[in-house]
Amino acid sequence: MSFPASETDLGAGVSASPTSLATDGGRSGGGRSRILRFAVPVFMLVLLVAAWSLYVAAYDVPHYILPSPRRVAEALVADWSVLGPALLVTLKITFLALLIALVGGVALAVLLSESRLAELALYPYAVILQVTPIVAIAPLILIYVPSTQAALLICAWIVAFFPVLSNTTQGLKSTDHNLLDLFRLYGASRWQTLAYLKMPNALPYFLAGLRIAGGLALIAAVVAEFAAGSAGAGSGLAFRLIESQFRLNIPRLFAALILLSMTGVLIFAVTSFVSHLLLRRWHESALKREV
């Protein structure tokens, strides 16, 4: 699978290789660069895991300090009955928080950009909510909200909400003035200007916000669970992580960690892919340039 967004960082390295290879024969167009884009990261991963495995074997590192990749894989399979449900809980909180953040962030952004009064009244509080560390608010929320799950959801939402709000507001406000004049000249209603001009204009900004919010929602879901310190059947990966640490079950800790980072990568890949699909026809960020 290729991640469109990573083109920006990987692009430089990948596009450099065909030029250096070009001396030993013709380039096979995009085919080679596509294979490279897939092969280089996979190769890198294999290399890292091999080095890790060799290091553990060579220095005889005890598994409660650093387990071998094989032990981690075994823990992943053996403890799936514990980790699986925990993953599901974390996923549920993350995506639900992200969803509410998207709907709420966009709705508030529209309100703020359409009404100066609303902006003056509400924006400072959105900023305060954002700049206050979530770990500091979490204990309060846990007291006020009866269910831990709901509290975690609120924490994740607060964190994911702001990038969507601020980016979308920025996008809605940076509409080309001539286009606004044009809409006025043709007697566009406020709603038409919003739907046909401001919203499409804000789309790239919104999508950038979405990509940040996706990652933050997961981080906040984990941090909030650390703060909550909840236990039992309904707990997520963060609790399993702490629990494994207490029990010195380091292979399981690694397994939980891997699940978390896989989730993060998946969220990044999906949001980048959505962004690419929506922008590829027109936005500069999604265009490939011929050099």
Partner: protein, 271 residues
Amino acid sequence: MLQSSREPMTQAAPLISLRHVSKRFANGTLALNDLSLDIAQGEFVSLLGPSGCGKSTALRIIAGLANASGGKLEWPSASGATPVAEHGAEISFVFQEPTLMPWATVFGNVHLPLKLKGVSRTAARDDVMAALDMVGLAGFADSYPRELSGGMKMRVSIARALVTKPRLLLMDEPFAALDEITRFKLNNDLLHLWSTFGWTVIFVTHSVFESVYLSNRIVVMAARPGRVVEDMTVDAPYPREEEFRTSSLYNDYCRKASEALHRAMEASEGS
């Protein structure tokens, strides 16, 4: 010959009439001072002047995009005293930049004025394609603006202005950012369309040569405050083709307009 056929119209009530219009910006700048101007049906008028002479401001006031601080704007040929806003349907505006929506195709961009009036894509298809055909871009309906050259983008912008079949076309230095070859080509195309459809055009420019080539009347303006210093007729027959650019008649008018512009600039500095 077209000139002669237009003569009787100029005798009738003007299409628009600016009466002692002035405009002062919030920062105190007097952009326009006591501007009075009658524009007849079917005229091709150029507003020529140095930057800061308020020619764009005048255009924006006519379009209803800006309010005059003093004086009034009348539409004598319309029945009764209709407010400016109601003429929106008959006015089209072409900006200096193509001002296209990058997320919409060429078709989508030209469709926009009709879409805002509630005409669906299917219902508008014929009109949109006809407008694209006029500017020679019928084959690019599904392209995105970024795939087009600067000249082609400007053509799309013109097609969008034409799709509503306006009575009055306002153009604010539309070709200023284009290279000379493209500009000459678009000048010719614009004249051709104008002689076919007979709209009234108000064309803002700072190019003497462009104003003489295109228009049958040149209003020369001076800056600080923006005002009219000269109102000259370009009495050369249409259709004007490339030969006109090298004719002595063209030369004479260019000299006249150029001198008027110099006087305008001296007047600007003097004040």
